[in-house]
C-alpha cells in the first residue's frame, strides 16, 4: 500500500508538473482566465445589480443557481448526519448526575430514581464535568453577543464588503457552537432544539428556492430577480440587489442551523445528551 500510494502521488504530481510550464504566468492579467468572461462581471456587475462586491454579485446573481445548490449541499449534509447518526430508538437512560449547588455534592440518580430537573438547588451536570469553568462561562457570555452581532453585520453588509450569507451563517453557527462549548449542550439545545434547527434549515433553503420560483411565476426565468421589480416597487437593478439580499438571508439561516445540527450530531454521536 505504501509503495502504491507513493507511486500514485508521484505519477499524479508528474502529470500536473508536466502541464505547469504551459500555464500563463502567475498574476498575468492577459491570461485567458482574466480576459474572456470575467471582465464582463467586473465592468457590469455594479450597473446590472447595484452590488459593489463583485463576488457577491456573481455568487448570488450571475451564478446564483450554483449557490442554490451549494446551500442544498449543506442541507443534504445536515440530513445525512441525522440519517446516519441520530438515535431514534428508545433512549438508553443511564444514570444521571446532579450537583447540589450549596454543598457541591454530586448525586448519581440511577434509572427510575426521581429528582425534579428544575430544582433550584440541584443542577444536572455532564459525566465529565469541569468544576471551575467560571472564566470560560463569563468570557463566553461577554463575547457571544458581539460575535452574533458581527455575524448579522456580515450577512447584511455582504453587498459592500467581503462576506455574505454563507460567511455570516457560519459565524453565527460558530457562535452557537461556542455557547455549547463554554456552557453545555443542554442549554444550547434549550435555545435551539434539534427539530427547530432542521426546520429552520429547510426554511432557509426554501427561501432561496422560493425566490427563484417567485421570479418564475412573475414571468422571468428561474432566479431572475429582475422579475421581482414590480412586486418590490423598484427598478430591475435594485430588484436584483434586493433579490440577492433575500437569498443571502435564506443561505444564512440554512448554514447557521445546519452547522449547529452537525455539531449536535457529531459531538454527541447522535444521542443528543452530553456535548464535549
Amino acid at each position: 500500500m505504501r509503495r502504491l500510494g507513493l507511486i500514485t502521488a508521484v505519477l499524479f504530481g508528474g502529470l500536473l508538473a508536466y502541464a505547469t510550464p504551459d500555464f500563463p504566468d502567475w498574476g498575468d492579467p492577459r491570461s485567458p482566465a482574466s480576459t474572456h468572461v470575467s471582465p464582463y462581471y467586473i465592468q457590469n456587475s455594479l450597473a446590472d445589480t447595484a452590488v459593489p462586491n463583485i463576488v457577491t454579485a456573481v455568487l448570488a446573481d450571475y451564478r446564483g443557481y450554483d449557490t442554490m445548490f451549494e446551500t442544498t449541499v449543506i442541507f443534504a449534509a445536515g440530513l445525512a448526519c441525522l440519517f446516519l447518526l441520530r438515535n431514534f430508538g428508545p433512549r438508553a437512560v443511564e444514570s444521571r448526575l446532579y450537583r447540589h449547588r450549596p454543598t457541591g455534592i454530586t448525586l448519581r440518580i440511577e434509572q427510575g430514581g426521581d429528582l425534579p430537573e428544575n430544582s433550584a438547588e440541584f443542577e444536572r451536570i455532564d459525566s465529565q464535568w469541569v468544576p471551575y469553568d467560571l472564566i470560560i462561562r463569563c468570557a463566553g457570555r461577554l463575547v457571544l453577543p458581539f460575535i452574533q452581532l458581527f455575524a448579522l453585520y456580515v450577512v447584511a453588509h455582504g453587498h459592500h464588503s467581503p462576506g455574505g450569507g454563507f460567511q455570516g451563517g457560519v459565524i453565527f453557527g460558530a457562535a452557537l457552537i461556542f455557547y455549547a462549548l463554554s456552557h453545555d449542550l443542554r442549554s444550547t439545545l434549550g435555545h435551539l432544539p434539534e427539530a427547530r434547527s432542521l426546520i429552520v434549515a429547510a426554511v432557509g433553503v426554501l427561501i432561496y428556492v422560493g425566490t427563484g420560483v417567485l421570479c418564475l411565476l412573475l414571468g422571468g426565468a428561474f432566479l431572475d430577480y429582475a422579475a421581482l421589480a414590480g412586486l418590490l416597487g423598484v427598478d430591475p437593478v435594485m430588484a436584483r440587489s434586493h433579490g440577492i439580499l433575500m437569498v443571502e438571508i435564506g443561505v444564512a439561516l440554512a448554514v447557521t442551523t445546519v452547522m449547529v445540527s452537525l455539531y449536535y450530531y457529531l459531538a454527541t454521536a447522535g444521542r443528543l445528551d452530553e456535548g464535549l
Partner: protein
C-alpha cells in the same frame, strides 16, 4: 505583498500539511489541520481573495476543526501512523 512573508507562509502550509498527516495523536492532527487551514486563509487573503479567505477562516479553521475535535473526542485519539 511582502514576498518574504509569502514564502514563509507557503513553507509553513506544507509543513502543517505534512505534520497533520504525520503526528501520532489525532487531536494534535486536528489542531495542526486547523493551523493549516488558517495559514491557507492567510495566503488567500494576501492573494486578494478576501471572500474565500473569510469563508476558509470561519469554516476551515473554525467549524471544521471543531468537528474534527468532536469526532476524535467521541471515537479515539490513538493512531498507529
Amino acid at each position: 505583498m511582502i514576498w518574504q512573508l509569502e514564502i514563509i507562509i507557503l513553507v509553513l502550509v506544507v509543513v502543517c500539511a505534512v505534520g497533520a498527516l504525520a503526528v501520532r495523536d489525532l487531536l494534535g492532527a486536528a489542531i495542526l489541520f486547523g493551523a493549516y487551514s488558517f495559514l491557507m486563509c492567510l495566503l488567500w487573503a494576501i492573494m486578494g481573495a478576501v471572500d474565500v479567505a473569510f469563508t476558509e477562516a470561519s469554516v476551515g479553521a473554525g467549524v471544521s476543526t471543531v468537528f474534527f475535535v468532536a469526532a476524535v473526542f467521541r471515537t479515539s485519539r490513538r493512531t498507529r501512523d
